[in-house]
Symmetry: none
Subunit: 146 residues, 4 copies
DNA sequence: GTGGTCTAGACCACC
DNA sequence: GTGGTCTAGACCACC
């Protein structure tokens, strides 16, 4: 799985790494029990300090997505016993997204259609990298401001 | 419209102000053409620096939500010519939210149900403050570690 | 006595083994004089390196809980001449636990009630594995972020 | 409030800092709303890197004990809405402590007496530093091993 | 060889 | 001036 960092984003690098890995888990590019790259390997591959990768892994670990041990490196957890509820942070993001959608005149059904794309992401595309994903995000330059 | 900031949040204050105003526009608490408080007035009311409020207003202006003229201060835009598409940032947030939902075992229909609540927020509650909103999220964001 | 290690825990495996054995001694699942499995046997049974088990046994020996002789392997000590005082480490842990209890608003009597459960653990359950223990703590330690 | 680090302990420094501050909050040496030293100031005072202090503060923040903002530094939270339950980690420590107590022949009532000292710590000693605390922990060298 | 901790020093966002 | 991020490099515990 390729982890691409946007160096101009103001989202911290360790956060971006964390987000990408969660994405990978959600769309099946990373399977339960699968080995993650070692901290050092990923750091070198991405050209960042291993402290930064370490911080991302710590975050993922503490959120319950992965676990680490000193012998075997980091792995995706097999069973994540979450409680079928969005985190508070996710709810806040969703509220923001929908408020924007409403202002931009996006109807509910239209919005659900967008959501379906994300829900389906990775469904058939396992192993095909980000086939589904790329289609979603062509940057629309016609926007007044981004 | 009351703008409440969460002093425990990591989200910068100017961002919180910006978010709240966008929310207010989306749910009808702020109407097209409506006058916003002056930078100075809002700053004083909220107990923050006017630099902070100014930054929030600049952001809103730059995003096309409000406009300012020297005589009358800031007002909500009458016609926002958006192209019925989410901003890139909103798409990224939505992708993150849905990836989390999938991992937590939230089905698509269940997710849409959550969305509907946000879509309906403010529909009948125009002018009634945050009646609808409060119901959605036991929003004690001051809660420690989720 | 079954020694279960939690692979998700940050506590080193040798520490977990040591803790479990001390627990076993305290609640009667291991009797004074009782033979412990050989390092090699336990290591194989648990699927860990014998270095790891060895380290745990060294620790237990050094703390005065077990003794080893070349012929018979390791056995629980018959008479442990402790001086009816907690170790420094235990005191530090207790201090931390109580500080947390106080902050969380747990009254002294309430706290004692929790303690009583641990004190009683194993009282009638000798030889019945972890009957009493399981009741105390919905111990799915594999639960993510508490 | 003085934060003393044991450099020989295998408890990480940032953990020790975290523990000491929680202790300070629990016994009243740190009051709700009280300002903590700045990351840099504490780091210099303790002779550690500011990254280390930063990590401790992050931990405290994420656990809900303190909050930070870039203007005013770190402060003890006013209201910590915990749920009157020990954390899983605290329960595990308590279990270990009590198992040790039982092995060492400490009766329940005797144990409660020790607990009472910790519970009372700071009750009248506000401003008197660690009056109560020091009495508890004179290291008993008569122990077979520590 | 792995992750975890720690440092000294730098730069940044927010104010 | 504050906390937050990041680096390059070191050492350590566990294995």
């Amino acid at each position: 799985m390729i982890i691409a960092i946007n160096e101009y984003s103001d989202v911290p690098i360790y956060q971006q790494i964390r987000n990408q890995i969660v994405l990978g888990i959600s769309d099946g590019r990373l399977s339960p029990g699968e080995q993650l790259p070692t901290v050092r390997a990923l750091a070198q591959e991405m050209g960042v300090s291993s402290m930064t990768v370490n911080k991302a892994y710590q975050m993922l670990k503490q959120e319950g997505y992965i676990f680490t041990d000193r012998r075997n490196g980091a792995r995706v957890r097999e069973e994540m016993n979450f409680n079928r509820e969005l985190s508070l942070e996710a709810k806040e993001m969703l509220e923001r997204v929908i408020s924007e959608a409403k202002i931009r005149g996006i109807e509910q059904e239209e919005f659900f259609e967008i959501c379906r794309n994300y829900f389906d992401a990775g469904k058939e595309a396992v192993g095909q990298e980000t086939a589904g994903k790329r289609d979603l995000e062509k940057k629309d330059a016609s926007d007044p401001a981004e």
